[in-house]
């Protein structure tokens, strides 16, 4: 009991130590769960769509539902031009979703509870959207920072604020996912400790709380994957339709 720290679950452990050119590229528990998530997604989608029948089976309809879900999300938030980026957003959504869900299995590791992972994902989105915006609009993309109808003497201040607001996107995108996952898992672990500490007499109370909490965490896991994907769509929309 004395070794059980609620934050211990987030520790990165090297499973296969590897050093290439002085860079630590060890295979860690984080790596394993990322690969596991990708393998499960591939397995789920290929196996579910194997028959590809017109009247879907249960698995096929799950795969089609997730496809439709992201397809509609892009259609509603970006429009038809966004369909080209469907593979990226779908992969992003499925990866975050599976990492979140895998993390809910006891004794597993939650990849998305590390800010470096979520920040890397958010940075890819941010840099990608910025590049797409400049490719599609040229210098006109900079109009994003100039809202219309602002008095000229306020413009310098507004531009700086708009620019900072644009730069906060990767931070808020990554922190939101990371904080939600980490907070939930920490609360679960803390209450797990209460169960042990209170023993057989009162331990059932935190245990009941954990059961309810797991349900909430399941919602949050799905919701955060959804939020991550929809915000990516909203940012992508800015790259296509520059207006404020």
């Amino acid at each position: 009991m004395e070794h059980h720290n609620p934050l211990e679950q987030f520790a990165i452990q090297r499973i296969v130590p590897l050093h290439i050119g002085g860079i630590d590229v060890s295979i860690t528990n984080s790596t394993v769960f990322m690969v596991l998530a990708i393998a499960l997604i591939t397995l789920f989608l290929t196996l579910a769509m194997r028959s590809g029948s017109l009247v879907p089976t249960r698995w096929q309809s799950m795969a089609e539902l997730s496809y439709e879900f992201i397809g509609n999300m892009i259609r509603e938030n970006v429009g038809n031009e966004g369909r080209r980026y469907f593979p990226f957003i779908f992969s992003l959504f499925m990866f975050v979703l599976f990492c979140n869900l895998l993390g809910l299995i006891p004794y597993s590791f939650t990849v998305t509870s590390h800010i470096i992972v979520t920040f890397a994902l958010a940075a890819v989105v941010f840099i990608g959207v910025t590049i797409i915006g400049f490719i599609r609009n040229g210098a006109g993309f900079l109009r994003l920072f100039v809202p219309s109808g602002v008095p000229i003497f306020l413009l310098p201040l507004i531009i700086v604020i708009e620019f900072l607001s644009y730069l906060t996107r990767p931070i808020s995108l990554s922190v939101r996912l990371f904080a939600n996952m980490m907070a939930g898992h920490t609360v679960l672990a803390v209450f797990g400790g209460f169960v042990v500490a209170l023993g057989i007499l009162a331990g059932w109370m935190p245990l009941a709380f954990i059961v309810a909490m797991i349900g909430l965490e399941l919602i949050i896991a799905i919701l955060q994957a959804y939020v991550f994907a929809i915000l990516t769509c909203i940012y992508l929309n800015d790259a296509f339709h520059v207006h404020h």
């Binding site: 369909r83 604020i161 900072l164 906060t168 939101r176």
Partner: protein
Amino acid sequence: MTEDPSPPPPEEFANRLRDLRKQVDGDNGAVDKPAAAAPGSAMGLAFRVGIELASGLVLGGGLGWLLDRWWHTSPAMLILFFFLGAAAGMVNVFRTAREINRRD
């Protein structure tokens, strides 16, 4: 539905999709509104808005601190960018709130 070796051109695909959607929409009215009304949304909303505000502060503070280090102007830039970051955070909160209102 057999696998087509080459996908149709995007425009054709878009047209087919639109026609199909029209058929489906005609059949059963409103289709596919994604479950935007998030469950447990009060806490989620607070979380979301709070993070928007905090990320502005963090970015402003961090940027100001960096500029101070480069230009040796400590603490002028830190103070300036802290407030600019706070303003950016508030802009974010405002946008988020507006977007949530529109979604409902």
